[in-house]
């Protein structure tokens, strides 16, 4: 995660003032890490098994899927849009890709990932085109897409299921494979997060996403191709959700037409808990990934302690409200601090 920010750090620059924008962002990221630390510590004190290698690997492996989809969702939310269709895309992609093993026995796993990616990109293109070119509010478009894609999924699946027995072991072993003791999946997703973070920071088109979310009209006036950028964000979100579908298939093995239902809300929760403003313009994909990690850790922690899974959802909700309230507070304080700064520097 820190790798993503390194190109930004410029110790050679002789300025005493840190970039205030970054300071705020870092504080937010730091806050999640602190909460994570406290959470792990308390859970470990109650149940020491929680910090064992097996449990940590499990959490990281679980987080990988959520973080992957959250990166795409974060890019959409940064532009003051939202993608509610990601859960359905994951479900459709999971079925279509896993089904390949049954219809084309011996198919290379890479090809299966490409099929999942293709399904996601296709969905993203449709959603993005309607939203960006048709100028229809994304909330409505993606809500409709949520049902449409799920409906298509149900029709394709019919009453059938993909069973674990049709899938090769090499595929089902993906979630448990490790390098240097860390899950492959988590490492791969970390690379995706790093690339996305670098892109958003260091390319004009990446910065444009922030500008669009900050003030869409001003972005249009500044000559930013708003429709094109929003379209791209949706395509990326769809593509990552498509890849997420393949990961889902490898984790759950048995795929029904209801796979990943309701996932979109957990993804959006992760993104918002991770500090991406729900009305766009600020936040980072690193934060979104950390948000996913935090939510998954909470799930596991409650599970380990023996709290009923009924409670975990309520607690996730509570966390979401806390995060948003906290953000609002921080934002007001920062705004006040900035006004004071103006008095000092200005005039």
């Amino acid at each position: 995660m820190s790798a993503a920010r390194e190109p930004e750090a410029e110790p050679s620059e002789p300025e005493s003032q840190r970039r205030l924008v970054d300071v705020v962002l870092r504080a937010r990221t730091f806050g999640i890490i602190v909460v994570l630390g406290v959470l792990v510590l308390i859970t470990a004190l109650i149940q020491s098994r929680f910090v064992g290698g097996g449990e940590v690997r499990f959490i990281l492996s679980q987080t990988a899927l959520y973080a992957l989809v959250a990166v795409g969702e974060a890019m959409v939310i940064l532009t003051r849009n939202v993608d509610l269709s990601v859960g359905s895309v994951v479900g459709l992609s999971a079925y279509v890709s896993a089904n390949m093993f049954g219809t084309h026995p011996g198919i290379p796993i890479v090809l299966v990932f490409l099929v999942g990616l293709g399904v996601g990109l296709g969905c993203g293109v449709i959603t993005g085109a309607i939203t960006a070119i048709g100028r229809v509010p994304s909330l409505v478009v993606t809500l409709a897409m949520l049902y449409i894609i799920r409906g298509v999924d149900t029709i394709i699946v019919g009453s059938g299921v993909v069973l674990a027995s049709t899938e090769p072991n090499s595929f089902l072993n993906i979630p448990t494979a490790t390098i240097f003791g860390l899950p492959d999946l988590a490492l791969a997703v970390a690379v995706v997060v790093a690339i996305a973070a670098y892109y958003l920071n260091s390319y004009r088109s990446g910065r444009d996403l922030y500008a669009i979310g900050s003030d869409p009209d001003a972005a249009r006036r500044a000559g930013i191709p708003v429709a094109k950028r929003v379209f791209t964000a949706f395509v990326i979100s769809g593509g990552l959700a498509g890849l997420g579908g393949v990961v889902w298939a490898s984790q759950y093995a048995t795929i029904e037409s209801t796979a990943a239902s309701g996932l979109e809300l957990q993804i959006i929760a992760s993104v918002v808990v991770g500090g991406v403003a729900i009305f766009g313009g600020s936040g980072s994909v690193v934060g979104a990934a950390l948000g996913a990690l935090l939510l998954q850790t909470i799930n596991s922690a409650l599970n380990v302690i023996g709290v009923s899974s009924i409670w975990t959802e309520a607690i996730s909700g509570l966390l979401l409200i806390t995060a948003i309230t906290l953000d609002r507070g921080i934002q007001l304080r920062v705004a006040a601090a900035l006004r004071r700064r103006r008095v000092r520097l200005g005039a």
Binding site: R19, R207, A222
Partner: protein, 553 residues
Amino acid sequence: MREVSEQGDPTNPGGQGSQNVERGRLAGGAADSPSTASTQLLSQTGARPPILSVREATKAFGAVHALEGVSIDLYAGEVHALVGENGAGKSTLVKIFGGVHQPDSGELVDADGHALVLTGPADAREAGIAIIFQEPTLFPDLSVAENVFIGRQPRRSGGRIDHRAMRRQARALFERLGVPLDPDRPARGLSIAEQQIVEIGKALSFDAKVVVMDEPTAALSATEVARLFGVVQSLRDHGAAVLFISHRLEEVFAICQRVTVLRDGRRVLSQLLGELTAGDLVRAMVGRDIAARERTQHDAGAAVLRVAELQRAGIFKDISFDVRAGEIVALAGLVGAGRSEVARAAFGIDVYDSGRVLVGERALHKGRPIDAMRAGVAFVPEDRRQQGLVMDMSIIDNISLASLRRLSRHGLLIPSVERSFASDWAARLQVKYGNIANPATSLSGGNQQKVVLAKWLSREPAVIIVDEPTRGIDVATKAEVHRLLVELSRSGVAVLMISSELPEVLAVADRILVMREGRLVAEFARANASEERIMAAATGQADVPVALESSPA
């Protein structure tokens, strides 16, 4: 004055438009005769072609002609003032420069004499034209440096943004402007003055040859204005042409070299400022036919609405006045002088810090419109579409909306009663509608305004406050609204009217109060009022005598 312009335009086709000096009839007797002004301009322009010109631009919005055959020449290294009353067409001209509007006819011409077609803001920027709006819109979440360079960030290998170079260049820009803005801070929380500086920095960063500033000083403090003037001078010294729009004539004389006056969408004057006095400009701005003042004087009754020492920090101060039964009092002044704010506070829409509002002997609670309504006050707001009407509701519903309690029987509304009530009032105000059950959107602007009036008049108020009652409505309906207001006052209603149109003020009002920068600065009885005197008071010009004249109270 229409005739003067029409005579002027055809004699100066195409590029010669710039040398045409049209002057209002009232300005004819001023220091310079039009012919000498022309020759001076001719020699001036002969030496140096304008860097950007607008030639014979005409722009209409529906039936409203915002600009009619306006030409203006901008020269490198010169600050050109654009002045005119509210609604004279300045903003439309600015938007043509900015590529937001395209003229219906006429064209923009660059330094080489080629026509420029701007189809959007990006085109204008491409052509080296920067517009600084009164309240710029920046990206609050992005840093100041990124706001300057958005979409044009300096790049290094692989198309990556060179953050360090961007910061360095931004810092250099602000140093050149002499303003210590931190390029790294987010734009959120910047003052309007600082936001303008960021916009000016942006203009510098793409080497804008023409900088248009639309009333940049309206929201600035004195020190900020001084700093802005320094920046404008530095722009000029670097060879930029600046078009500077301001209502404050002292600012125009302080930093501009040339001036163009617009009135009713036409250019009435364009020449070097050195040859002019503030009085000339005021006359040029208002010098149209004085509206017919056929109204006979009549006696007003006792004070009905009394506003005493009303004050709201930063908005208005020490506002005291009475409106008597049967009297029409106009609040005149420039946009932003605080007129609407006073009216809104008096009616209870906005709160105020101190002072009192009385209707008859009854003191109104502050911040409670319902209290004002019960006391018999009606308020017709400025923006009828947003505040005056529920656009999607029927004409019936809109008219009866403020009288529902009176129209209901045992808490229930009876459609037939509502309908006859509404059609009765619609007929009294001569509202022209297709079907009274149609939504308000089906009406023309003038008829919409009549519906708003009907809604409030049906409550039979003792006091009626009307804010810009004829904005954007056609001449015929305008006259009807004027007649209506006069009739109302005859029937003993106290009328407080806010209007930016001086002919309207002079035609309708018995007494005129002038506000400037949140204060009441002058009061004229109908007999003593003239457009020049009101304008002088509203702009704070001393050379036209401004006296605080007592009304026959």
